[in-house]
């Protein structure tokens, strides 16, 4: 007994000495941690859900800890335990707590479903927007290639703009991306726009977002893709509309001048996929994916 008490004291003391460390960590945490700035039109929907969930689980966790601590502190060795396999009050509590959790889950679930249908999976609406910017992305170890259709609106033609790790988009217009990989699986990750989509060899995946704030933003790879996974970084620059148009016209003219019809490897683009999929149908790109390219130049 006394031995145990002494041990507890020792442990409490060592826990106290830890406090400064914990406090220091708290300070570090306070220094600008949290979600990266949101530069998109719809990111706030995800942020809102995240904050809501955070508050909810914070409350649940606090209740749980308070319950555990109270139960252990007020009814120690001296208290005579209650002999019951279930109690009416306990069952009511069980139903109530599980009920609250289910309701909260359901609320988040429905909100998310609505957001997915309405926004993040609504490729059709993005595609129909007059000012939509369509980009084809070819991921390979360890870089992101982007292809814009150019003035003719068709991919894999002489006026395509092709860039490496350099994405430019206009402010306030939906950006619709179709993406594939030529080697291993990568994941196209835009932290400031709250979206992410795997680039799968043999498949064309899609994502869209609408950038609202001008500036330079980072694109990362989120799926382990080999030795230099950590370096698979690209930049996305959001430009004012006029600046973007100027850039696009210039870049397209440049690539038309440098076009080499025989350079098959460079023509990795594909015909733009119909934005309106039948549910359950995943567009396949196996036929179009370039076979001759070996993605190991990185």
């Amino acid at each position: 007994m006394t031995k145990a008490k002494r041990a507890l004291q020792a442990v409490a003391l060592s826990a106290l000495t830890l406090l400064p460390a914990v406090a220091r960590a708290g300070v570090v945490v306070a220094q600008g941690l949290g979600l990266p700035p949101d530069a998109s039109q719809d990111g706030h929907k995800i942020d809102g859900l995240i904050h809501e969930t955070l508050i909810f689980i914070g409350i649940m966790f606090a209740i749980m800890v308070a319950w555990m601590v109270t139960a252990c502190l007020i009814h120690g060795r001296k208290h005579r335990a209650e002999y019951a396999h279930t109690t009416p009050r306990g069952q009511k509590l069980l139903v109530a707590i599980v009920g609250v959790l289910v309701l909260a889950d359901a609320e988040l679930y429905l909100k998310s479903l609505f957001d997915m249908n309405d926004t993040f999976w609504n490729f059709e609406a993005a595609d129909q927007a007059k000012d939509v910017v369509r980009i084809e992305v070819n991921a390979h170890q360890w870089a992101w290639q982007a292809r814009y259709a150019g003035p003719d609106g068709r991919f894999n033609t002489a006026d395509d703009i092709v860039t490496l790790n350099d994405f430019r988009v206009p402010q306030g217009a939906p950006v619709l991306i179709q993406l594939t990989s030529t080697d291993v699986i990568h994941s196209f990750y835009l932290p400031n726009f709250r979206v992410k989509q795997d680039a799968m060899p043999g498949m064309v995946n899609r994502l869209w977002f609408k950038p609202m704030e001008t500036g330079e933003y980072e694109i990362g790879c989120a799926q382990h893709c080999g030795v230099n996974h950590y370096k698979m970084r690209a930049l996305l620059t959001v430009l004012p509309k006029e600046a973007y148009d100027r850039w696009a016209a210039e870049a397209s003219a440049n690539s038309a001048r440098g076009f080499d019809a025989d350079d098959v490897v460079a023509h990795w683009g594909w015909d733009w996929k119909d934005p309106k999929p039948v549910e359950g149908d995943v567009p396949r790109a196996a036929e179009q994916a370039p076979k001759s390219q070996n993605g190991k130049e990185g």
Binding site: M64, C72, G202
Partner: protein
């Protein structure tokens, strides 16, 4: 019922301690093998943490020993091998053998009143097959092109012979296949033993919840490890014989296969695996919380059905690991629906635990503290799962450190602390000696505090956007400011690692210095404590006749007639006539 036939007690050293058929010896073999690999896996984790705190700086102690070629620093090429081997080792070669191999073997026969497993030879083979798989893992480290490096998920095409060439990856995939064979052998054994060899009167609804958890886990193992096995086998064919089951895109010659199919096969196994690792822990928690609160486990049947429901649902939620792979929205919605549903039985269990410790007579012994610690980290881990189950939040959080923090809290921390709870609890039975309690308290507080800080640190990094598996996260501008958090997380990780010295010392030294353990030091009624510590070769001199459930604590009638707050499952009250089958009417709420 006839006595279960028992193999004669072996006389030679080799048959007794090495090629033993005795479930108690095999359990200890699994325990040692698992603890050893836990140390390996933990050491690898420390190297990762070092790299994140001090990128490219020479690793102290280990660097000069293992990485002399690079001046002691971790290179980009070495780094994926470290986290891949860390994950594989921890999941398949540390937690699995400890929770399932050791506790399953030790507790199932003792707790259901059997003299041994149903198939003792298969049991022995299961351990030796497991040892072969561990050997293959070790061998993978010494291959010319390095160890396996495609991540523990081993996604093709990265895991094919072009993406990750060399024998390291091949041997690791082979090791998983072989360890799967071992797991299935063990699983068949556990499932059969529980069905066939329960002592008379040990109905399903009188089984300790530890046994329930282990039994359901074994069923999941038998069902889903073969799926992993087939995925692994096809991957081996791709690697070794040039087939293209999982290769597509430019790397494929003539058509090719589909890398997404592998992910389906992997997660059909992989999600149940989460429950495979947590169900035994849940079962142990249910029992220990009741024992040390000196109260019956609250709503026993509810806990049983909740665990059964989790088992049934576990195979239809796996798609939440694949929300961003580009699978069809319809499929995604289905998986999200099931994922939200599977949280209900887990919540029921949780509330049952809290109600079990309410109005008790709490004894904060080391096993109880570790059980409470498990509830704490599992609560945190389970709640953070909500972010990842809901699709639109997963769009942002998928494949970030948030996921890493989440599953390290649920799978790693919870099963680690539950394993420790189990070790502190059954140690006196296993080794016939008591562990030192003072060291136990210190070990608990330090471990729980540090483990929580480590993995909440990872949650914070992921919340701020840091992807997982980055050799050097600070290549990214938007992650620059996370160096501080990552360093602190690393310090806590190092502290957690070195805290375990307390345990290693206590575990080893108590075998020689510990006080001799009594038959029933915790004063509980399950059958494992109704036999000497350590139990004789045949476990029970007389096969017990079970009369009641596992948690009959603080029954006023028992206190009145026996003068103590517990009664054995096979112990008759002075005025009670032992009957094997529960008489429904008389049983009332007691079963």
């Amino acid at each position: 019922m006839d006595l279960q036939p028992i193999h004669p007690e072996p006389k030679s050293f080799l048959r007794r301690y090495v090629f033993s058929l005795d479930h108690k010896v095999i359990a200890k073999q699994f325990l040692w093998a698992g603890l050893l690999f836990l140390l390996f896996g933990g050491t690898l984790a420390m190297m990762i943490r070092w790299q994140w705190a001090y990128p490219m700086k020479p690793v102290p102690i280990l660097g000069p020993l293992l990485l002399s070629k690079t001046g002691g620093a971790i290179t980009p090429a070495l780094y994926p091998a470290i986290f891949t081997m860390h994950g594989l080792i921890m999941i398949f070669f540390a937690i699995t053998p400890i929770l399932i191999g050791a506790f399953g073997n030790y507790t199932i026969p003792l707790m259901i009143g059997a003299r041994d497993m149903a198939f003792p030879t298969l049991n022995m083979l299961s351990f030796w097959t497991f040892l072969v798989s561990q050997g293959l893992m070790i061998a993978a480290f010494f291959q010319k092109m390095g160890a396996a490096a495609a991540g523990w998920t081993t996604y093709p095409p990265l895991s094919d012979s072009v993406g990750t060439p060399g024998w390291g990856q091949t041997l690791a995939v082979l090791a998983i296949f072989v360890t799967g064979v071992s797991t299935i052998m063990g699983g068949i054994n556990y499932v059969t033993t529980v069905i066939r060899f329960r002592a008379p009167g040990m109905t399903y609804m009188r089984m300790p919840l530890t046994v329930w958890g282990l039994w359901l886990t074994s069923i999941l193992n038998i069902l889903f490890v073969p799926v992993l096995g087939s995925g692994g086998l096809l991957l081996l064919l791709d690697r070794l014989f040039g087939t293209q089951f999982f290769i597509a895109g430019a790397s494929a010659v003539n058509g090719g296969g589909d890398p997404l199919v592998f992910q389906h096969l992997f997660w059909i196994f992989g999600h149940p695996e989460v429950y495979i690792l947590i169900l035994p822990a849940w079962g142990i928690l249910c029992d220990l919380l009741s024992f040390f609160a000196r109260k019956p486990a609250y709503f026993y049947k509810g806990s049983v059905y909740a665990m059964v429901a989790v088992t049934l649902l576990s195979a239809v939620v796996y798609g939440h690991h694949m929300y961003v792979t580009g699978m069809s929205p319809l499929l995604g919605k289905g998986f999200m629906t099931f994922t939200v549903m599977i949280s209900v039985p887990a919540e029921i269990l949780f509330v049952n635990w809290l109600l079990t410790i309410t109005k008790g007579s709490i004894r904060l012994e080391p096993p109880m503290l570790f059980a409470l610690g498990t509830v704490f980290v599992f609560g945190l881990g389970g709640l953070t799962g909500l972010f990842l189950a809901i699709m639109s939040m997963d769009l942002y959080l998928h494949d970030t450190m948030f996921v890493v923090g989440h599953f390290h809290l649920t799978m790693a921390s919870a099963s680690f602390l539950a394993s420790l709870a189990g070790i502190y609890f059954w140690y006196p039975k296993m080794f016939g000696r008591e562990m030192n309690k003072t060291l136990g308290y210190a070990h608990f507080w330090l471990s729980t505090v540090f483990i929580t800080l480590v993995f909440t640190g990872q949650l914070v990094a992921g919340y701020s956007g840091q992807q997982r598996r980055l050799f050097e996260p600070y290549q990214y501008q938007f992650l620059h400011h996370l160096l501080g958090v990552n360093q602190w997380t690393s310090y806590f990780a190092f502290a957690l690692y070195f805290t375990q010295i307390l345990f290693v010392y206590n575990f080893v030294a108590s075998m020689f210095l510990g006080e001799k353990a009594a038959e029933n030091p915790w004063q509980v009624g399950t059958l494992d404590w109704a036999t000497p510590s350590p139990p004789p070769h045949h476990n029970f001199d007389v096969v017990p006749l079970v009369l009641r459930g596992p948690h009959e604590l603080s029954d006023p009638e028992v206190i009145r007639s026996l003068g103590r707050d517990w009664i054995g499952q096979a112990e008759a009250l002075p005025d009670e006539r032992p009957v094997a089958e529960p008489a429904r009417a008389a049983e009332g709420g007691r079963a």
